[in-house]
Amino acid sequence: MYIILVGAGKVGWNLARELIDKKHEVTLIENSFERYQAVEQELEHNVQYGDASELWVLERAGISRADMVIAVTGDDEDNMLICQVAREKYLVERIIARVNNPRNREWFELLGVKPYVSATDLILRLLEHEVPDYGLVHLLNLDEERLEIIEMSLADNSPVTGKRVGDLDLPEGSLLISVLRGRQGFVPGPDTVLEAGDEVLAVLDPGLEEDLKVFFGSDGAE
């Protein structure tokens, strides 16, 4: 694949190195001359100096034949617009944008710049997973398909402990898909009896999280 990477910060430089190792053709574009010189010592002709917000800089890098554009500068506006132009003007099929400030996610979506990666969000996701009393962990969001998978752990006083799965009257639009007990995970049948401390995974329509949290009396639910 031919990949254009924009922004030779820590992320961009390392990514370029990894992609070159994997035998991809890579051009890294950096707009600070000092940084460019440092990176050029190692990456040589794989790095170009210039402001990738400018169309001619992208064209010089050969954007018309690029299979993918990845914008990982420290500036959200740059990342958004580079990807927007790559997709809409140069018809690049795959783009990836870095989000620096999670509050800008809405604008990436508004301009049709997807997928995007936010380090803050990734760490928050992990934090949710590591902090047990948060009550509910998003494992997967399928925005296009309008489905989510969440994980909850059942508190001692959960209304469903001791009940058979077959007897549960789950909120419509949700389904229990697995139970983690101790270190074991299994797919529950109608005769599975839920226990306090079980971690349950459910698939659901977006918006049902709170209903399910109450239904399962998960830790952290009021």
């Binding site: 169309l55 001619w56 500036d75 506006e77 617009l81 003007k89 508004l110």
Partner: protein
């Protein structure tokens, strides 16, 4: 008409003053509190006393845009000192807040032209400067040609 101007530098502040004088409601948003002083250059009353409003905030923050009144804006002008900011906020004004008239100042002629085709009204001061400078050279050339009587360039311009 209610005009929201984001970016209150030399261009934004002049447009703001003139539009207020012409009887429009004008609100300005700038991240620099000092920009307010620029609005009052040449005025003998304060900007607020004359009916204008001024908000300090970042143009990408919904709260700042809302406080500056974007939801009721008839015209949105993106005139910060950054092309990228102007292009992004113009699209936000158009797509998210459905402002009927959105104009963005873009210095880079190539992108000004492309975004214009995408439906964002753009003003490119660089393009105007290029045309005027070229015009000045052509005019000088044609005067010189005229002064020299018949020459190789006769008949041009």
């Amino acid at each position: 008409m209610f005009v929201l101007i984001v970016g209150c530098g030399r261009v934004g502040s002049s447009v703001a003053r003139n539009m207020l004088r012409e009887g429009h409601d004008v609100s300005c948003l700038d991240e620099d509190p000092e920009a307010h002083a620029r609005l009052e250059v040449g005025l003998d009353q304060s900007w607020e006393d004359l009916g204008g409003s001024f908000t300090v905030g970042t143009a990408l923050e919904v709260d700042a845009l809302t406080e500056a009144g974007i939801e009721g804006a008839d015209v949105f002008i993106a005139s910060t000192n950054g092309d990228n900011t102007n292009i992004v906020i113009a699209q936000i004004a158009q797509r998210r807040f459905n402002v009927p008239k959105v104009v963005a100042r873009i210095l880079d002629p190539l992108r000004a032209e492309w975004y214009q085709k995408q439906g964002v009204q753009t003003i490119c001061p660089t393009r105007v400067a290029i045309e005027m400078l070229e015009g000045a050279v052509r005019e000088a050339a044609s005067n010189a040609a005229g002064g020299n009587g018949a020459s190789a360039t006769e008949g041009e311009g």
